[in-house]
């Protein structure tokens, strides 16, 4: 169930909110847990048992680590539980990739049947790991209430695509999450903002990217349009989804962490990753990079650590080698910056730093978008001049998609937020403009969702 679907907005959300507000306080977490499990079961009912297993296992592991008397026992329990979490992730997400790769290398047939990917498994296994590690390190006490723990792991606003919440950030909120009027209003605003980003921008941009991808062998112009459209699409898609998640969190009285901070304003690759999918970067930093030694070790080891973290970050995004390449690409850029480039970036005009970081992101997204590496390299070659400059597709896409790209580009900056804030503080007239604008965008969003559900079925009934 997508947040940006009619069913979620007009049925699931009002029902879950109503029930949640009316049940007595001590049942609220149970209510959240039940709705989260329904939400989870919606797409693939049988995987709800996997979720239940993850909840029981994580809870038991936490207890076990807590109760172990010796540090050796604690460590064993920790390692076991991490192995189970990682094992779950590897089995469900990557076994298909391994089997395909091995059969590709050896010519043997695929030895595994395809397994449907359980929704959100990349997120909740990481959250489960954060739980046991936080307890092992003594950053937070083990959870004594199974329902509270289940709510942490399965809370539906962040279940499908984050933000990834570390247990220590959630611990206190699990006991104390009152919905205030202010919080609810802020939640509504954020949710709608996310909805606008997703259905009015990301979904429109996807039509540009799909067209360029289908026609393949693009000219320079169409390659840039396709790559830029995807660059904006993925930002509005993902940040819109996070906005909706944070907004929903507020409506239920929770404060979820932020995930994006205007990433396309960055002036280096390292900065980009401090502003893009911040909770994932934070997770890898706290639970992998620093335990590996971080940068408090020899330069060679530091480079190794960065390489490991970035290839895994890449693979985390999808079970296909192009994602590993994409991660490695960022790893290389960040290592180069760490070694010497950062110093140069600090001394050149800010604009060039921004240009470098932005182009690096756009090129990176090509590897992310194209699972077929040959097609990805055709795009990159075309973008850098090894193709005809203009074709009909490029000219047409520029004419019909130029305005959308411009709006998207402005939308990636902090400008719209500034304007909105000015209007909100700008007396009656400004506030009226703001409200009318929000209302119109809301109606347009509903029309876009209805439009998505509208599917003429023409060629088979005549």
């Amino acid at each position: 169930m997508l947040f940006s679907s009619l069913f979620f907005i007009f049925i699931f959300l009002p029902v879950s909110l109503l029930v949640y507000y009316f049940v007595p306080k001590h049942l609220k977490n149970l209510c959240l847990l039940i709705f989260s499990l329904i939400f989870y079961a919606w797409g693939e009912p049988s995987y709800v048992f996997l979720m239940l297993f993850a909840i029981f296992f994580g809870f038991a592991a936490g207890k076990f680590i807590n109760h172990s008397k010796t540090s050796c026992g604690k460590k064993r329990a920790l390692i076991l539980s991490i192995c189970v979490d990682v094992g779950m992730l590897v089995f469900f997400k990557y076994s298909g990739l391994f089997s395909k790769t091995i059969s590709g290398l050896t010519g043997l047939p695929d030895f595994l049947p395809p397994i449907a990917l359980p929704i959100g498994i990349s997120f909740y296994t990481f959250e489960s790991i954060s739980y046991v590690v936080d307890i092992y390190r003594g950053d937070s006490p083990a959870q004594n209430n199974l329902i509270n723990f289940g709510t942490y792991l399965s809370f539906f606003p962040h279940l499908v695509s984050g933000p990834i919440i570390r247990y220590r950030d959630m611990e206190k909120q699990l006991v104390n999450h009152t919905v205030t009027k202010k919080k609810f209003e802020e939640g509504c605003r954020r949710f709608l903002l996310g909805l606008f980003k997703k259905v009015l921008l990301a979904d429109q941009l996807s039509q540009l990217t799909e067209k360029v991808r289908w026609f393949d062998s693009p000219s320079s112009l169409s390659a840039w349009i396709g790559a830029l459209a995807f660059t904006f699409q993925i930002y509005f898609d993902f940040s819109g989804y996070t906005d909706m998640a944070v907004g929903l969190g507020h409506m239920f009285g929770f404060t979820l962490p932020e995930n994006f901070n205007f990433p396309y304003l960055s002036r280096s690759a390292s900065e980009f990753w401090r502003r893009w999918h911040m909770t994932l970067g934070g997770w890898f930093r706290d639970y992998l990079y620093i335990p590996l030694g971080g940068n408090r070790c020899s330069r060679l080891k530091n480079v190794r650590n960065l390489a490991i973290v970035w290839v895994l970050t890449g693979l985390w995004h999808g079970a296909s080698w192009n994602f590993a390449l994409w991660g490695a690409y960022w790893g290389v850029l960040i290592i180069i910056e760490k070694l010497f480039f950062q110093k140069i970036l600090e001394h050149i005009p800010k604009f060039f730093g921004w240009l470098y970081a932005f182009v690096a992101a756009v090129v990176g997204w090509v590897f992310f978008e194209y699972t077929d590496l040959n097609a990805a390299f055709r795009m990159i070659r075309a973008m850098f001049g090894f193709a005809p400059g203009i074709d009909r597709l490029g000219a047409y896409s520029l004419i019909t998609g130029g305005l959308l790209l411009l709006i998207a580009a402005i939308g990636c900056s902090s400008f719209p937020a500034h304007v909105a804030e000015k209007l909100r503080r700008g007396g009656k007239a400004g506030q009226t403009v703001w409200c009318v604008g929000y209302g119109c965008l809301a109606v347009l969003s509903v029309s876009a969702m209805v439009g998505n559900a509208y599917s003429p079925f023409l060629y088979f009934r005549f």
Partner: protein, 386 residues
């Protein structure tokens, strides 16, 4: 009042009342079973059972149900089209990952909607062309092939500026190259072209040719059979009582789009025409109930059954086998002035041995009328193999 708190109240009220209004209207609005606009049965009320929960069909059905029965659905879709047109978008309803890939439609100039033509990456057309090219050898009778280009091919000057559009001349060349002995290909590209003739032979809101276009196709076909074509003055041209919004319009509803007039020819001579589908024979070639519905083009023969036999005992020439898609249907009022028995076979739905059929019915003349786009999308090659 504090800064911005007015706006905050507004957003929460907007969401609450928006949800209540949407959900309320959805619950109260009357539910239709069939959407004429989309030409499909709408989702029925989801069935709640252990099985439907377990296999997830209940959930899918519930999501489809609200999508299909949302109140003011057509108005919202139209608003969405308007939003996208305003952003500059000119192509709609594309679905590139689909099989066959769907390019959707262009909103073109002069209130015309056109199909987006894509190159046939899958090689379906070449296989169909090869199969049609060897039909004559396998059947032992000559075959005349009339490939019909799309409106976007014949009126490319009306497409949005620089709009990519595959050139269907390529398919014509392929057909000619694949044509075996006894096979003749008719090239009517120039005869239908807006630039060459100054005439609009296509519907504005539908992918089919209009009755004038069908007449152009008819005249070329009978000329090739050395028959005299009936004249337009032999027909009375009638107009359907309601405006016609065709299949292309259905892909992106837009309130400001002007409809077509649906005009159809009725022979002036009072010949007794019949159409036989299976064991059922009906008078006339029009199914007039369709003229009052959305899908007016189906008034011609009532759509596309696998086999239809149209008879006109007073026509001079004998039998004709017509391998065809829906483009041929609007040629029938003209063709039945020449042929006394036309056997229309829609190979998409025909599952018998076509060569046996020809022998059994003693057919000596055969033609194939297909839109090129259809031959790129759907394979008929397997139905022609022996």
């Amino acid at each position: 009042m504090k800064h911005g708190s007015f706006c905050s109240h507004f957003t929460s009220l907007l969401l609450i009342f928006g949800i209540l209004a949407g959900a309320g209207a959805f619950i109260l609005s009357p539910k239709e079973e069939f959407s004429e606009q989309e030409n499909r049965v709408l989702e029925p009320v989801p069935k709640f059972s252990a099985d439907s929960i377990q296999d997830g069909s209940f959930m899918k059905s519930a999501e489809n149900y609200i999508g299909d029965h949302f109140a003011f659905r057509a108005d919202f879709v139209s608003l969405n089209t308007a939003y996208r047109l305003l952003l500059g978008q000119r192509d709609f309803a594309a679905d590139y990952p689909a099989d066959p890939p769907e390019g959707g439609i262009y909103y073109g100039k002069n209130g015309h909607i056109y199909e987006v033509l894509l190159p046939d990456k899958r090689g379906i057309f070449r296989r169909n062309a090869a199969a049609l090219g060897s039909f004559s050898r396998l059947a032992g009778i000559p075959l005349l092939i009339l490939p019909v280009p799309s409106g976007s091919q014949e009126q490319s000057e009306n497409l949005p500026l620089f709009a990519p559009s595959h050139d269907q001349q390529e398919e014509l060349t392929t057909l000619k190259a694949e044509a075996g002995p006894g096979t003749e290909i008719l090239d009517i590209f120039n005869l239908l072209s807006l630039k060459e003739t100054g005439k609009d032979y296509y519907f504005k809101t539908d992918h089919h040719w209009n009755t004038q276009g069908a007449y152009v196709g008819y005249r070329s076909l009978v000329k090739e059979f050395h028959l005299t074509a009936a004249l337009p003055s032999d027909f009375e041209y009638r107009k359907a009582p309601f405006p016609f919004y065709g299949a292309l319009y259905s892909k992106a509803i837009f309130s400001f789009q002007k409809p077509d007039d649906f005009i159809y020819p009725v022979p002036k001579n009072a010949a007794r025409l019949t159409q036989q589908i299976g064991r059922k024979t009906e008078e006339g070639i029009y199914r007039e109930d369709y003229l009052n519905k959305k899908d007016k083009y189906s008034a011609y023969l009532g759509g596309n059954p696998a086999v239809t036999v149209v008879r006109n005992p007073s026509a001079p020439a004998g039998k004709l086998l017509l391998l065809k898609d829906s483009f041929a249907n609007s040629m029938i009022p003209y063709l039945c002035q020449n042929f006394s028995e036309i056997h229309l076979i829609d190979l998409r739905y025909y599952n018998q041995d076509i060569y046996q059929y020809i022998k059994q019915n003693g057919i000596k003349n055969a033609a194939a009328v297909y839109s090129i786009k259809q031959l790129c999308d759907i394979s008929i090659a397997n139905k022609l193999e022996k």
